[in-house]
Symmetry: C2
Subunit: 342 residues, 2 copies
């Protein structure tokens, strides 16, 4: 089928990348509707070289949409998710609203595309720090079962949204020119020339919501509820690409050569083979791949490794993964499937 596709949040940071990636991948569609909040009504965005007018996200404008991408606040997802489902479409949601809902598949197609089979009109994509990590973990668990994962992140400001990118850029401009930085609007402290060891609000057990999202989403995607997991999520003054320093402990021997072989064949993942070659956020930006580098033995446990991973958080961390889910839904004939239980 050639679906009618709608994008809610088309004017945002992920929306912008979504349009670029969709055009690059020649995502098939018979119509593309770009939706956003009322104040963006009438704006024009380019898709594949052609201008498209943005309209307000309304019930009328969603009518007949087969696949609806949503990248906006949780409240927006909550508002339109049930509407899209009721009208027989599928919403692919970039937000956290539905990720842990037991009736909503949380999908990285290279790992658990099969979970799409039981969708009921809403599919979630993981948090942008979860995606690259689970891709590496999924490859590695073919060698030995995963027992314990700890991670420290280095997250780009674009993960917060376009306003955060503007805030970082404005601070860099002010510092470069020797001026005082403008009043803070997005982060509670200056982010340029600084790092903030808090991403999202604090939640249970003195972990932040971001740290718990990483844990819960990793367990859900890998179907491994007993995976021991703890993270520290940190915002760094980088525009694009999230990085992570990760320790993995296995439940049994995991020879380095076998791990490398597994990572090498993992779709969407690039293993930097030379352990003395690094990969940085700037190098990973604008790529659809998750990069794994600095893979080495963790000598502090019987069976463990340490590695560094970097991914463009707006591409594979968001837009690309969402588009891959759409492609997979179409391939499996899971859009407007008559037998779909609602």
């Amino acid at each position: 089928m050639e679906p009618v596709i709608a994008v809610i949040g088309a004017t945002g940071a992920v929306g912008d990348v979504f349009l670029r990636v969709a055009a690059e991948r020649h995502l098939k569609m018979k119509e593309l509707r770009l939706l956003a909040s009322a104040r963006s009504e009438g704006k024009t965005l380019m898709y594949d070289g052609k201008p498209i007018t943005v309209h307000e996200a309304t019930r009328a404008n969603l009518e007949g949409a087969d696949i609806v991408f949503c990248s906006a606040d949780s409240s927006v997802s909550k508002q339109w998710g049930p509407v899209v489902r009721e009208m027989g479409g599928v919403m692919i949601d970039d937000g956290s609203a539905y990720r842990m809902d037991k009736n909503v598949p949380l999908v990285v197609p290279e790992i658990n595309g099969d979970d799409l089979e039981w969708h009921e009109g809403i599919v979630s994509i993981p948090n942008c720090t979860t995606t690259p990590l689970v891709m590496a973990l999924h490859a590695m668990r073919t060698v030995a079962p995963l027992k314990r994962v700890t991670a420290a992140t280095y997250q780009a400001v674009s993960g917060t949204g376009a306003a955060a990118v503007r805030e970082l850029n404005a601070q860099v401009e002010a510092i470069g020119a020797g001026r005082a930085i403008p009043p803070l609007e997005v982060y509670s402290q200056q982010i340029a020339m600084n790092v903030l060891p808090q991403v999202d609000d604090f939640a249970d057990d003195d972990y932040t919501k971001e740290e718990l999202k990483m844990r819960n989403e990793t367990r859900k995607i890998l179907h491994q509820e007993d995976l021991k997991f703890a993270a520290t999520c940190v915002r760094v003054p980088v525009a694009l690409s999230h990085s992570e320093a990760v320790h993995v402990e296995f439940d049994g021997p995991a020879p380095m050569e076998a791990l490398k072989a597994a990572l090498r064949v993992m779709p969407g993942l690039v293993l930097i083979e030379d352990p003395t070659q690094v990969v940085t956020p700037l190098q990973a930006a604008n790529s659809d791949d998750a990069f794994v580098a600095r893979l080495r033995v963790d000598p502090t446990v019987d069976h463990g490794v340490v590695f560094w991973c970097v991914t463009d958080n707006l591409r594979k961390g968001a837009a690309t993964n969402a588009i891959q889910i759409a492609e997979e839904l179409l391939r499996r004939n899971l859009v407007r499937r008559p037998a779909l239980k609602r």
Copy 2:
């Protein structure tokens, strides 16, 4: 005694901070000699409001110096260490040249000031990432023995030296003004708006020298050779203050309240009690304290915690620790001690 004090590397990043901290602490001395490489001969630096002329580091200019601070390349430490020792003075070395020498104490005075008793003319201070970490670990091990430590660092460019700070600033200025960044001189990739998962060269087992320094120095200072330790050291676009995300596993129960009590009474360390209050590099800059924040249970092990620590790498990470060692040597009468074995 009122010592004659010489500073080798007085014109460098640490030298600058050394002069400020020494004046703040009213370090007692009867003479202060500022030494550097030949090209700085004749320059003037300020100490406590008074100008002092910089001279070349030569044997003649070191003659009669009781305490010699050295913050320069390893080759410079290696050149002058034996000379200072032979002339009966004590060199306090900020570099890595002597840190793992079994005849050289590696000292954080709040932890192992007693190791100064066996110095033979050279004392080393730890790497700037090691110092805050061992201070936290030393406090915590009074509650339960340490078994395993893993860390991911967020290291400021001033740890590389003054040229690296200039490189970051020049890049920020160029980016802010929309110009191309100047040619790279210090780092192999752009550091502004980026992070580099490599500090120092690669060494054994695919770890960098910086990561192995952290491990080896921590073991030496804590006198615990069997401590399991692995780190990932990362350079971030921050001018001042190193941060670390740390996991500690204990060999036995370590109740959170007991750990907090131990950290509270550790000299030179500030525990941020509220686990939802963060501390950033900008906030820690220009303080002599090591800050520990975000202390929480690590649920992935039987007895463990995760925390965030931040320290001004040029102060407690270098200059302040060196000055505290001088103060401790004087207090213990270990400068030009007749009985000192040479």
